[in-house]
């Protein structure tokens, strides 16, 4: 009887610990979001992308000519030349407004608006 009680208490303790561990996991942040954008017909589509801090934006070039995704004020690394079918991704970790353009066709412009708090 005592052994069974001990075994029962032990099992209860394990269950509480498991529940506690489960509760800690439920408080973790969800997986970071990703957003797809296209570069098509000499336009960034969508022209304005609004995302939460920690989001990765991926641009894919659909045009027959190369384009770049280049931050106007060098706030994020430029993509370099993207040929048709090439993609470029950047994860925005700080809130703010990030205008960008294509250095090959500078009349092409876009903007990423990042909302939230850093490290959130």
């Amino acid at each position: 009887m005592r052994k069974n009680l001990f075994g029962y208490l032990f099992l209860a303790g394990l269950t509480v610990a498991a529940l506690a561990a489960g509760t800690v996991k439920a408080a973790d942040t969800p997986a970071p979001a990703t957003v797809q954008a296209n570069i098509t017909s000499y336009k960034f589509d969508p022209g304005v992308i609004t995302v939460a801090v920690g989001t990765t934006v991926t641009w894919t070039n659909d045009d027959d000519v190369p384009h770049t995704v280049t931050s106007t004020d060098k706030h994020f690394k430029s993509s370099g030349a993207l040929d048709k079918g090439d993609s470029y991704s950047f994860t925005f970790t700080a809130p703010g407004t990030y205008p960008y353009y294509c250095t090959v066709h500078p009349f092409m412009t876009g903007k990423v608006i990042v909302q939230g708090t850093s490290g959130g």
């Binding site: 770049t68 370099g80 030349a81 250095t103 500078p106 009349f107």
Partner: protein, 318 residues
């Protein structure tokens, strides 16, 4: 020659633009008229300057080879480049040199520059001068381009040289693009041009070449150079100024006083006329017609005052 200039200026603006679109102005006695997309010579008055032996010297302009492009508008840009080179090598008189007005490569990749450089070796000429296009300066401000094609330039890429009394200036307007703006030459380069021209007599024939048009052909597509008007102030005193550009893959022309501006066909693929499409992307044309949209340009200098004689040849003649 001057009489015809005055007659053009008397026309309605739209008619004048149409006329300029169709004509390449040439040295005294010869009118080069565009028929069916091909420039042909018509003699005005006595004497034709079209004969090969009458030129003091000649040179060739080619442009927009886009080595590395492989899509529908032209799956074989290296093939059409070699065709263009064949046309150069078949000219009655070998050109003294060749000017390439940029977009040698499609993506600024070293292997694309190498392939182009290898093809250029087969041109029968004594020299070749280059100015980069925006496809040649992606990501490195032209380092790979200037490494191969920047001989004689300061490192910034702009340069000048003299040939038999004509002064040639190669300018760079494909670096430091600003968001939403057209291209620019920049203060440093313009100050260099002012100094470069300062002590030349006004009778010196001048040839200026750069990739993007040095006049506003079509602003919504970035077909122009924002600070070109400052360049004009240094050029306007000269009796003959020829401006040679590329970038738009078609022939457009403008006359402003003693300055005549020409853009050129490329050797790779056509682009639409200004505003004739939603964007300036590569234009796929019906099978068999590609050659008529690509070509080379021969320019002859004859020892008379005034503009140079310009002949555009399409690959369709080949």
């Amino acid at each position: 020659m001057r009489d015809i200039d005055k007659r053009d200026e008397g026309n309605h603006d739209k008619e004048r633009r149409k006329l300029l679109k169709c004509m390449a102005w040439a040295g005294g006695g010869v009118l080069w008229a565009m028929k069916g997309g091909v420039l042909q010579a018509q003699t005005l008055g006595a004497g034709s300057l079209a004969a090969a032996g009458s030129a003091d010297f000649s040179f060739v302009q080619i442009s927009d080879s886009h080595v590395g492009f492989h899509l529908e508008a032209n799956p074989d840009v290296l093939g059409t480049l070699h065709e263009a080179i064949g046309h150069i090598n078949a000219l009655p008189a070998a050109p003294a040199f060749v000017l390439h007005t940029g977009d040698v490569s499609h993506l600024s990749k070293p292997e694309q520059f190498d392939t182009a450089q290898q093809a250029f070796k087969s041109i029968k000429t004594d020299g070749m001068f280059f100015t980069p296009g925006e496809h040649d300066t992606i990501g490195d401000d032209g380092a790979e381009f200037f490494n191969r094609f920047g001989k004689g330039s300061s490192g910034k890429g702009y340069h000048s040289f003299d040939y038999r009394g004509t002064h040639f200036i190669g300018l760079v307007n494909v670096i430091n693009f600003k968001q939403g703006a057209m291209s620019e030459l920049g203060d440093e380069q313009l100050e260099w041009v002012e100094k470069d021209l300062k002590h030349l007599p006004s009778s010196t024939p001048i040839v200026v070449y750069a990739h993007i048009p040095l006049w506003t052909v079509y602003q919504p597509w970035g077909w122009g150079t924002d600070d070109a008007p400052r360049l004009y102030t240094y050029l306007k005193r000269f009796g003959s100024v020829t401006v040679l550009n590329g970038h738009i893959h078609q022939i457009q022309q403008k006359v402003e006083g003693n300055m005549t501006f020409y853009t050129a066909r490329g050797t790779a693929y056509p682009q639409p006329q200004p505003g004739a499409a939603p964007n300036p992307g590569p234009l796929t044309v019906p099978a068999g017609q590609l050659g008529s949209y690509l070509g080379i340009r021969e320019i002859r200098h004859v020892d008379v005052k005034g503009p140079l004689a310009v002949t555009d040849t399409s690959l369709a003649l080949g």
